[in-house]
Symmetry: C2
């Protein structure tokens, strides 16, 4: 027997830039991003735009075309943008994915051409997956247009679509060529989307950065009201922490069992599916964090004061930390939410690994969660919600079980 | 404007092992490969087998099952193997790809479970692509069963299927978990397949390793006759050079324009398509190397003696260095083969980069090839073939234009 062994190292050097007016001709960022690898040749690019973004910014495609026309020696827009539906539905069938692939073929987009993906997380996911597998990888420049996209998902290395009823069953790890975050886009979000996107920032503060958590508490009112400066600072600080994690965790493609930044996510994934995505991902994560923080306090890992602070912050920004789907029960009478733990383990592969809290900015991994502790956390959240509900009615419709 | 910049490094540590009797229970290699990351737990695995391999080794699935049954504490075969058609056709529609994905879903294969891919290059490509995108990457252990697979494609980091009439239009770069090469499989190959697979070994010797090239010349007769020891040494030396290139080139995922190991491949890809895959990939590469070696000599890059040595080695092993498809002409009267250069450039993206020869083991990159030089090389090969053909008839049927 004879063995050859090699260590294959792959380096991805990419920047996440925050700017305003990204498609205004005098803003050099897009041009400098596209020409950074090979100066002196003309770079071909094609854009895919989220319909929700086009609706809010109806001049967007004209601005993009004008931008390319302003730099004819460097840039070429090879075809009009493709406008696709946004939201989770775009990931549920393969029509959009396939349409993008067909255009890559027809437009002769090669591995050194660019696809520009402009939109919310779902559109970035489907465009990113198509770009990752066409020719084994076409250059992708992401323009996340939501708080969630700029704070977390749009700056990372994942893409995907849903299949067989499983979220992100198909996808790859594929670092983008670049990420350009235009904070202007955040101004036209609905309050619901803007708030929902903040939960990943709260999450990364809780497990990584006590100072950021303190800042979030100090600015909860401004954040809840959509103050532009506060929201811009939130997305930048959150993006920096997420990107730093990817670069320094030692496992950017998640080959191990741990996902230290998936605090609150085992319950969140299950809640999204139990509510058929009536809850936004961020809304579900807020509830998942509430559960896991209360669990951490009850398990003696963190103080009850931290749990109060987390629940208070969620309230203050405008999250709900309860949804009646938490009370759904299976044929055996068990709360369905508990299945989320097993499904989370299966999704990661290997051993169950869940992040809990020891303190603000201090996550800790555990490999078991006790059902009794989870049920106790749910009792606290249910009681809080019912207490509050008698004072003010739910602003988000609840589909009772 | 604010910029976050991080270097994301991903490390893949994988071994390519050469062995015999890989599914005999007393051979520890497969077990030790599957348990290497997490000892002490039971590892789930599912196999996909090339029908051509099953035909030659009808006891293979029973041997695999016996192997798993011999190590019940460590290994679990979660379902009977799936047998799929081999050859390029399996990459031409998505049926096999989709069937594998569906089984991954049904069998609850997770990111820490294994898919074992046993077969020729086409089967490894389609199974590898499915494994790479399911759950963003399930562990893949490859068992290449051909000379080409063990010497080159099966030890590398690529997978793919064909789409829109383009070879490998869809695929990813995804290092396998491990590669187990059982040289026993090479014994049951047809002479045609065994010989065709040797061209990538000749290629990597020519551009990287003069000593290996001298060894090939010294053993050409034994290789042509399928001497098992000589063939085993060829695949191991070739695999080591290919793997070393992936690990040390600085661009394992081919983000630049250069493909230093694609010597002879611009013409080869075009010939495969011009002959609708009547020519095997390896047969086309042999012809492509003959063209580019003659071109290199004519351009004064290497000596005429090296060109003679290369053509002589190809003859001696049993390759043909001419195919009448080289004379096919388009509507404009130009030889179709010349389109191969533009298509090669498009496939890589960026600037045209072709490797030529300065000496044995000494490739050099150029960014232009003159039509006149290519036509002159074709004239030499045509004349040689017609001279020889009058002595002995073609053993491979030629579909004349």
């Amino acid at each position: 027997m004879h063995e050859l062994r090699e260590l294959v190292e792959v380096r991805f050097d990419y920047a996440v830039s925050f700017t305003e007016g990204v498609f205004q001709c005098e803003n050099p960022l897009l041009r400098s991003t596209l020409i950074k690898e090979e100066k002196g040749r003309r770079h071909r690019a094609w854009a895919v735009i989220d319909r929700g973004v086009m609706d809010a910014w109806p001049d967007l495609d004209r601005a993009l075309t004008s931008y390319f026309e302003a730099y004819p020696a460097d840039l070429e827009q090879i075809a009009p943008p493709l406008v696709v539906e946004g939201g989770e539905a775009v990931k549920n069938d393969e029509a959009t994915f396939r349409h993008i692939l067909r255009r890559v073929h027809e437009l002769r987009i090669d591995r050194h051409s660019y696809i520009l993906a402009i939109g919310g997380g779902a559109v970035l996911d489907v465009v990113g997956y198509a770009a990752a597998v066409a020719h084994r990888g076409v250059r992708l420049v992401r323009f996340p247009t939501t708080v969630l996209g700029q704070a977390d998902s749009g700056v990372g290395v994942k893409n995907g679509i849903n299949a067989f009823g499983k979220k992100n069953f198909l996808g790859t790890f594929a670092p983008p060529f670049g990420v350009l975050c235009d904070v202007d886009f955040l101004r036209t979000l609905s309050a619901r989307d803007r708030i929902a996107g903040m939960s990943e920032a709260i999450k990364v503060a809780l497990v990584r950065d006590a100072t950021f958590f303190a800042w979030l508490r100090a600015h909860a009112g401004a954040l809840g009201q959509g103050d532009a400066r506060a929201v811009a600072e939130l997305v930048q600080r959150s993006a920096a922490l997420h990107l730093r994690h990817i670069a320094t965790s030692g496992d950017p493609f998640e080959m191990g069992s741990a996902r230290p930044l998936d605090f609150g996510h085992w319950a969140a994934h299950k809640l999204e599916s139990l509510t058929s995505h009536r809850l936004r991902h961020g809304e579900a994560v807020a509830i998942g964090m509430a559960i896991d923080t209360l669990y951490s306090a009850r398990a003696g890992l963190c103080s009850p004061a931290l749990a109060d602070a987390v629940l208070g912050l969620l309230d203050h920004i405008g999250f709900r930390s309860w949804d009646d789907a938490l009370d759904l029960r299976g044929p055996d009478g068990r709360p369905c939410i508990l299945e989320g733990l097993a499904e989370f383990r299966e999704h990661l592969g290997g051993e169950l690994t869940v992040t809990l809290l020891r303190g603000p900015g201090d996550g800790i991994e555990v490999h078991e969660m006790l059902e009794s502790g989870i049920l106790a956390a749910l009792d606290v959240l249910r009681a809080r919600a019912h207490g509050r509900r008698s004072l003010r009615p739910a602003s988000i419709p609840v589909a009772a079980p």
